[in-house]
């Protein structure tokens, strides 16, 4: 059951340029989390009133991991978190990356930058089920690449400048290796809008289902404000608006309409 809880920061470390990995103790929430879900973080006494949503990048019985990038005022505040500090959070929110291990024979995780966050958690769960996924993580440069070690998956790092891993775009490399994937293949994606739009527009290899975790500005995270809508094409939502916070954040890429 989702709930508001006080979380204690246990660690908060810089892991790449402007990217931090934090561990929060929040037993009321941690134990229930599933990959794809997110939490809301509340900030007291600022002029910015919205909570900030962050994907759960990993969870144990008592702790939640976050992988976040500093891009504005509240993430700057987060980068200043010190161990022992208490914050207010709400979670777990949203739907999940549904691992259908009966149906799919290979699993691909495709992360753009800090979009790796929910996929790290998904990777953990796949590994628990004895599955070794392909885990692609792309960034512009080595300095911006959030995660560098991983033995539990086939980790493929890509950078635009080739400063580490394969040179070039992460989607490109994912496609280039398509022959290796057993079908049907389940692809789970999180990254910049542009990356998802590309995936939507290209023709994908057959027998591949793509699930994307979307981001929209959210006020409540609970389905109260109706603010976080995404346009859908047909599919599950009949072309109506869907709420990213409640119906998502994970959608079948087929159902989503990306705007320019």
């Amino acid at each position: 059951m989702k709930c508001v809880a006080t979380a204690i920061i246990r660690s908060n470390q810089k892991v790449a340029d402007g990217i931090f990995l934090a561990s929060l103790e929040a037993p009321e929430i941690a134990g229930q989390c599933l990959p794809g879900q997110f939490i809301n973080i509340y900030f007291p006494e600022t002029t910015k009133i919205f909570p900030r949503p962050f994907s759960i990048a990993g969870a144990s019985d008592s702790r939640i991991k976050l992988l976040y990038k500093v891009i504005g005022s509240q993430t700057t505040l987060m980068s200043g978190w010190s161990a022992g500090q208490k914050i207010k959070i709400l979670g777990p929110l949203g739907n999940i990356f549904d691992i259908q291990e009966q149906h799919y024979r290979d699993f691909i995780l495709l992360g753009g930058g800090v979009g790796a966050a929910p996929l790290m958690f998904l990777r953990d769960e796949l590994v628990k089920k004895g599955i070794k996924p392909y885990f692609f993580i792309g960034a512009k440069t080595k300095a911006e690449l959030p995660v560098v070690e991983d033995s539990a998956s086939h980790l493929i790092l890509t950078t635009d400048d080739g400063s580490v891993g394969l040179k070039g775009n992460v989607v490109e490399h994912f496609l280039r290796m398509a022959e290796n994937y057993k079908t049907p293949t389940q692809v789970s994606v999180c990254g910049p809008d542009m990356m998802m739009k590309v995936l939507k527009d290209i023709s994908l290899p057959q027998n591949m289902d793509v699930f994307v975790s979307l981001e929209k500005t959210m006020a409540c995270g609970l389905g109260l404000c109706q603010g976080c809508v995404v346009e859908t094409t047909s599919g599950k939502y009949n072309g109506h608006y869907a709420l990213v916070c409640k119906d998502g954040p994970v959608f079948n890429i087929k159902d989503v309409k990306f705007n320019d």
Binding site: I49, T217, L224, C225, G227, V229
Partner: protein
């Protein structure tokens, strides 16, 4: 036990003066896991219209200094789905339930009321007069005295149920609007709905809200709500339900001193979903400290 109840008149008593504001609490069911919905004196549901509405295209919300702009476009499930899907949950609540109604014509308002009047458990209606009246060229019902008068009369004729008119703050003379509502025998006014607000993305030059101009809410507008309530209180004596930027218990007391009999929590539900608990604690503490037996003792007692 401290008695937090308030009397809205016409036999309507709420366990406490805190209601939810329309459009910020869904139908109560979405948030039920997080907050005990029955802690509220009343629930006001998302604006309901005769037919379902998908609402406006994104972007629908944007954060502003101590506030937000929204342009949801009254997205709602429509009367039929409301009856089927939401009534079973709502009718079992201990909190009194007020159904907020939005419509594009007087007839649509009356049609919705006619159906809802059959639902005996509904405590009252709140009429959203900030929506555009298609017959009057799209200007909001609540911004023209004559249009407001005609609508309120018609609504009053069509139902005996507790009738709240929710005033728009985007008018020159709010007191006049409140007077009209009272003259037409509505049972209460609620105020304020959102202020007009806009924001523009300086990189893309696009408005940050699809409809360009949306509704501003949140702590930023609290002083405006209080000013409007003080003006209205001077000219009417039906209950005022105060709305606008309330985020803490002290705000509730402030609104009641200014003349509100009850209040609604809106935007705070987004940035502090458990606010109701803190607020009820604060009010009990305040009553204790000021030796108040009933909240009646403070309503309208500011020296204004």
């Amino acid at each position: 036990m401290i008695d937090l109840s308030i009397n809205l008149g016409k036999g309507l008593i709420l366990d406490n003066p805190i209601l939810t504001a329309s459009g910020t609490f869904g139908y109560g069911d979405e948030i039920a896991e997080v907050v005990d919905v029955n802690c509220f004196g009343g629930i006001v549901t998302k604006s309901l219209s005769l037919e379902p509405r998908i609402g406006n295209p994104p972007p629908r919300i944007v954060e502003t200094a101590a506030g937000m702009i929204n342009s949801i476009g009254l997205a709602n499930i429509g009367l039929d789905a409301f009856l089927k899907e939401k009534v079973p949950y709502l009718r079992e609540l201990k909190s009194r339930v007020f159904v907020n109604i939005a419509a594009r014509s007087e007839e649509e308002f009356c049609d919705v009321i006619k159906v809802l009047d059959r639902e005996k458990w509904i405590a009252g209606y709140e009429i959203n007069v900030s929506c555009p009246n298609v017959k009057e060229g799209g200007i909001a019902f609540g911004t023209n005295p004559n249009v407001l008068r005609r609508l309120t009369r018609k609504l009053r004729e069509s139902t005996d149920r507790f009738l709240i008119i929710k005033l728009s703050p985007n008018v020159t003379d709010i007191a006049r609007m409140a007077e009209i509502v009272q003259e037409c025998n509505a049972d209460a006014v609620s105020m304020i709905n959102t202020l007009y607000g806009a924001a523009i993305d300086i990189q893309t030059r696009k408005p940050k809200i699809n409809t360009v101009i949306g509704g501003l809410s949140g702590p930023a507008i609290k002083p405006v709500a209080l000013a409007h309530i003080i003006k209205a209180r001077k000219v009417i004596d039906i209950p005022i339900i105060g709305i606008g930027g309330i985020s803490a218990g002290a705000d509730v007391i402030e609104f009641m001193l200014a003349g509100a009999t009850a209040v609604q929590l809106g935007t705070v539900n987004f940035f502090n979903p458990g606010a109701i608990y803190e607020i009820l604690d604060f009010i009990e503490h305040y009553m204790d400290q000021h030796r108040l037996k009933s909240l009646n003792e403070i309503i309208g007692q500011a020296q204004v």
